[in-house]
Symmetry: none
């Protein structure tokens, strides 16, 4: 009542649907993580606890959102691939980007004590997120190649830099100067010649980053609980889909009408129908959604092998 | 090097600037909070600890972002008003909505134990966020009136509903039936006649929601510490700018690093240069930024009095 | 039938509503008009026939679209102001920008022979259009001031330039060199001293551009036909509004439901409701739309006087 | 000078780039063409002159914009396919949709007298346009199938309807009633049994619509003029680039002119520099652009044959 007179302000909320039929790439980055990692005394050049915490948060997000089929993390960033056909939150941009960023952040803070039992969180960290749309599989492969190549470049640089500082006794300024203008090969040599480090034998986690992969579980004759089984708990879209059911009914009626070819039926306004169609197919799909588990790997994702082996990632 | 060949994927990131010269209203809502409040056994109809935790998180967000001048919270939602002239993150929609949602979420989880010392968090909660633009002061007043009217309607309903259940011995189904079709006046009567409750004397926090107001501190001739003084800690926008500085440094590092790997290819981050330029001017502006403190109130924000008294909220 | 199987492609049409409550400024510019004016031998520095043709086309557009309250033209560009509250085509960006650009173009070609009776159109000219949103009246005044100041700067330059060429016998290269680095005052002097031209006495059309202003006609006791009366013909939005009527009914029902305060009613999805609310108010408004006529002026629109005299332009 | 103080209003123009790597489908529709065709007494059910005029305008548009590789028209609508990789106007949505709609409209009015020599245009017609993005070839095929299926459905209905009215002596209301609920087969029977019309022998133009196809011309050892040769006139993208050059020149002029007026203030046209850069690379690309001609067909575009035969349409 009192409310209805002000409710017009809702009309200023504009729709922000993301183009259907395209891959959604959701990436988040730590906000001011230089300061955060200093304050919490992360080990340089890599803090395995911090990286494991990132992986844990990312895995939680994937368990909550089955339409995420692949993720890749390095340092304080994580990228998530959603299926091309996902109807998550009706593909509304703000809703997806804010919810996924929120859940990741929440998991990060929630799990902190498991990874840093002796170092309490001193202040709440935050992340920013964005969604980028890619039309084809090639784009997706190139996107992940871009991130993993970046991991390599940064890690080689940082590993050499911190070796110079921590073991070589250089100041950070000196170390920067030492590395200025060097090529990859020279950094390998510095590491090997001066510090006895064979870069290629360092932990693959640091060199390759973290790959989280959703794998379908082939059910072994109903043999019970899978260790990594995806949550039987209410899937996140369920609420939305309840609402969709009614709308589908309407859409279906219309199709019948069209079917009779009666007249050049003016098609209904598009915004609406997009939503309905998408919801409908989402509902159907979920019914068939197989059990999956999420595996953590530290492997190459630039070459063909990974994609050939896991062809299901990009398939619909 | 390896990187430059894939970096074209960045071109798919499209700009999403929000119209200048308009008020930004950022609202976040708890995600599946029915389930969350049940699992954590929130008191019905209102759990004061949960509400105080929301207020705390919201206040933290305001302390970090000085362009937020007003906020209003009820239940599991919070609305934040950013100045019309804000240049926060160059007004990029995704960046703002994801960062603010993330920080709020982080604060919520971080402060949980202070408000629920005996009830550990069982799983990580999340929120979704959105930004709505409003051109005029009237819209902003109506927006906040809309939310506070909603608080009233919901709280009166819920208070009566739970009185019927907790004190009146009705099932929830019966209580819904009792209230179906009733007007405001009838609910007041039920509360008073059957449960001796004068609704208007209930805690204003429940009836009016929470108002967080940024107030300028008039310095009393350097007389020392203000009780509510804003944090001497990393000043509000400072973090953001600190980050900008870092990011630039990193970017520089990367360029160097890349450069040495063969072809430097400074990535054409279109938005980037703009961002930095804006940051610079933001920095100048901040120099003049007065000290402020954030007050928590539970007052009427529908009538003129509040807005007349705090005319600075909507002024630039 | 055959059709329904492909109709899913409509789902890729995304909504593009423009923020409500803001002024829409629609500007169009001639496409490759240097070539067009050369080919058609426009008089330099100003071709009055070409300018009158622009004015005619612009006036036709205003007669077709009553929500356009002001327009300003110079050279091969025209700017149109739509009321803040306009619900034209439901504020869909592409629809408005394409339709208005199309109609202007059509009028331009249609009326060409009236203004160039001896010079047939040699090929079809085109225009591009864009819409910019402005939140406040000040922005609108500054926008029009920007365009008129531009008219002044360009026209003074061009007038002097072509005097040097046509009367002073300079080549275009020489004329450019002569004017390089000159101030406004010096151009005035060149015109006066060398060519006896008092710039301020030139036709105001060239110095001030063209202002098209919608004025309300005060009916003189039903005394019959107004010469410039707006078309009684079907207003362009009518079709759209027919469709809106049904939707309004639905929206109205919901309001009733809310009125009873039954329960924290989940408000309907926003995209839809925006449309409905806007349509409803549009329908009401048109019923009351007064008779108007469109006047052509060549006056100053930078100073207050114009806006004080025609306060109705920015009022709702 | 005066100008610089207002030029801030340009900052309200927001970028509207279309996602790279996707097909652009540009469709335009006649605005109020029921009224337009009645006023100009178009023949029912199909007016061959009006359809040929549409084809002519569409062909002109394709000749001006070489990135359009296919078009399909029926009734008062036309759809144009732009290559996935097109960088036309830097993929700015408003610019593309407004310019193409404008040029089509202009051509329509310009060529009118050729097709309706005895029937002068009574008022200027207009069109609206929109762009829809499609990620894959399948979507494009389905889009065109959707339009051609629509052509079939509409034309069969209209042909039968007007036979009932024009030859069968029914009123339009009666004819609607006769056809209500009928299937395709029944309409065929009505036509054949009552009017001796074999629908499948009617002009393919009416049954299949118009297909405009860009074909590469295989040069036969410089053997001179091709019959259908593309215009030696200002090459397709050339106009656009010519304009770019001019615009730059103008911009330069303006800077100079402004500069001399006191404060030059070269307007920071953010998009501008990008645009020029892109233009440059576009220019290079064009150098290699083969000669093409545009063929008009009235063939099936739903089945594979068309797409197999003209595989170049979707290839890059």
């Amino acid at each position: 009542m009192a409310n209805s007179k002000y409710a017009y302000v809702r009309n200023f909320e504009l729709p922000d649907p993301l183009l259907p039929g395209t891959f959604m790439l959701f990436r988040l980055d730590g906000h001011s993580f230089h300061r955060f990692s200093d304050t919490h005394e992360f080990t340089k050049p890599n803090d395995v606890r911090a990286l494991q915490l990132m992986d844990h948060a990312a895995k939680d997000v994937m368990e909550e959102y089955p339409d995420i089929v692949l993720a890749f993390g390095e340092s304080d960033e994580y990228s998530f691939l959603l299926r091309k056909s996902t109807a998550l939150y009706n593909r509304r941009g703000s809703k997806i980007v804010s919810t996924l960023t929120s859940l990741f952040t929440s998991c990060y803070v929630f799990h902190w004590p498991k990874y840093f039992p002796d170092r309490p969180l001193l202040y709440p960290p935050s992340f920013d997120g964005r969604i980028v749309l890619y039309p084809t599989e090639k784009h997706i492969r190139d996107y992940f190649a871009w991130r993993q190549a970046d991991t390599h470049i940064n890690n080689l640089y940082n590993t050499t830099f911190w070796a110079l500082v921590q073991q070589g006794g250089q100041t950070t300024t000196e170390a920067h100067a030492t590395l200025k203008g060097t090529f990859s090969k020279e950094k390998h040599e510095i590491l090997y010649a001066r510090f006895g480090v064979n870069y290629n034998q360092l932990d693959a986690r640091y060199r390759k980053g973290s790959v989280l992969l959703r794998e379908e579980i082939v059910p072994k004759e109903e043999d019970g609980v899978q260790e990594h089984a995806a949550p039987a708990t209410p899937a996140p879209e369920e609420a939305a889909e309840g609402k969709a059911a009614e709308e589908d009914a309407v859409a279906a009626d219309r199709t019948v009408a069209d079917g009779t070819e009666n007249e050049p039926v003016p098609l209904p306004e598009k915004a609406g129908s997009t939503r309905r169609a998408n919801k409908a197919s989402a509902a159907k799909k979920k019914a068939k959604q197989p059990q999956t588990r999420i595996d953590l790997l530290h492997c190459d994702i630039i070459k063909d092998e990974f994609w050939d082996t896991h062809a299901g990632i990009l398939a619909e």
